[in-house]
């Protein structure tokens, strides 16, 4: 899901930043307004948590493993706006310090994983969980489905971004200048692997973490918890 440099053309990269800039500004204004000075370190620690969560290899049926992105989990624990900042910070650090995900593609990567993933996932979670008790099974199911749908929708966005490249950027002879695959191939490849493999990893990880927190620290899942923004 981390798009490296060179896959997207200048128009898509610029659009990624153009869309994310007001979202980051709004998110930081909202977080600044709601977050007390005391909670600034929490944002940094949450970003670090969003970063390291991608390191956990989750065993999936079939004997192989995969890693979760954790965007929906961060949204459930922190609220979608704070999750947007936390995941964006994690993605910027991955791109700048570890070369994972391109610098020119930071805007597009943040749009997919720090905006679409947490917001879609959080919306689905709220929709399914409704007003059920914090410790109910429904919340666990809601978290799992939210993780799955959030990731698949984010992968659809990445597929569309890839697929637009040969349409936007090609030479007169038909040579593609960036990602060479059109919408049909790019969307099928991206959505297919997330529907079949990575979506399930996200589902398992998100649902089990919520289930664990229900038992150990249910207060952190209360809608009125002070950290949720």
């Amino acid at each position: 899901m981390h798009i490296p440099d060179g896959y997207l053309g200048p128009a898509t990269c610029a659009a990624g930043f153009a869309v994310m800039a007001p979202l980051w500004a709004f998110a930081s204004r909202k977080v600044k307004k709601t977050l007390r000075a005391k909670q600034v370190p929490l944002l940094a620690i949450a970003a670090a948590f969003a970063f390291v969560i991608m390191l956990f290899n989750v065993p999936i049926p079939g004997g192989t493993t995969g890693h979760a992105v954790g965007g929906v989990l961060a949204a459930i624990l922190l609220g979608p706006w704070a999750a947007c900042i936390a995941v964006s910070v994690a993605l910027v650090i991955q791109a700048l310090l570890f070369g994972d995900g391109g610098i020119t593609a930071v805007g597009a990567n943040c749009f997919n994983m720090a905006f679409v993933l947490p917001f879609v996932g959080y919306g689905v979670y709220r929709l399914i969980s409704g007003s059920s008790p914090v410790t109910s099974v429904r919340r666990v199911v809601a978290a799992g489905i939210a993780g799955y749908i959030g990731l698949v929708v984010a992968s659809l966005c990445a597929g569309i971004e890839f697929g637009l490249q040969p349409i936007f950027h090609h030479t007169a002879s038909g040579q593609a200048l960036y990602c060479p695959y059109g919408l049909k191939i790019a969307i099928s490849a991206m959505v297919g692997e997330h529907l079949l493999v990575f979506g399930w990893v996200e589902l398992i990880a998100t649902a089990l973490v919520i289930k664990f927190l229900q038992k150990q620290e249910p207060a952190l899942l209360q809608p009125e918890t002070e950290v949720r923004i």
Partner: protein, 281 residues
Amino acid sequence: MAKKNNGFIERTAISAVSLLRETVSTDAIASRDGFLQRCDPRFKFAGIALLLACALLTKSTAELAVLYLASVTLAVFSSISPFFFFKRTLIFIPLFSLFIAIPALFNVVTPGKPIFAFKVFTLDLSVTRQGVDSALIFCMRVLSSVSLTILAVLTTRHHVLLKALRVFRVPRLFVMVLGMCYRYICLLLDIIKDTFTAIKSRVGFVTSPKTGRRLVAANMAGMWLRSYRLHTQVYDAMVSRGYTGEPIVLNEFRARRGDYGFLIVSLFMLIGTLWLNRFFH
């Protein structure tokens, strides 16, 4: 089978260790005496951003090759061994991109002038000129972009690189959160490494996938609980050091003549790229 089931424990521990090792080795390279290490991080980052823009905007494979050669030259002048640089830049993302580009060579993905035709059962396949050009420019673009990014990453201490973001008018809150986040990543990586090494030594070989999933989820949740509790202690520590709620980012950068030179050369390369693009249709 046991090894297969337990692979996730080792893989998680190995991921954490390799990231920690990368952090340490990067700091060691960034401390060497070399051209880019001596550069003011703000100018270095801006210069490399301009070169990245060249790699993003150019329509010429030859120019991308020149950019890659320029990054290898810069690496040599920055006390980075070419072998190490090739290893870092050619493996993983460029190699992965090469595999991704292979189907684009054929007429089923990129129609065009055939240069080599063959038949698979009833399917007529051919490698097209447009397909080869598309795959080549795609791989070269990824290679030169990744090389430039790695060059910046290797020659700058991580916390300094994050501070240099102020030059791009990134809000102070973000710069502070980025700096703090980086430190906590190191701390959390250390915790993951220790935890999974302990699990490996205690659990041995008897983890079923189901137990494995529960174990990983418990660790993720445990990590969140630990992080959540940690933030109040961190805030107390910040207050005791004089934090009043307004983020302050120290700025101890000083530019030299060579820094301006690097920036000007990068700027000229970008202008040259835009000028050259007029000849490609």
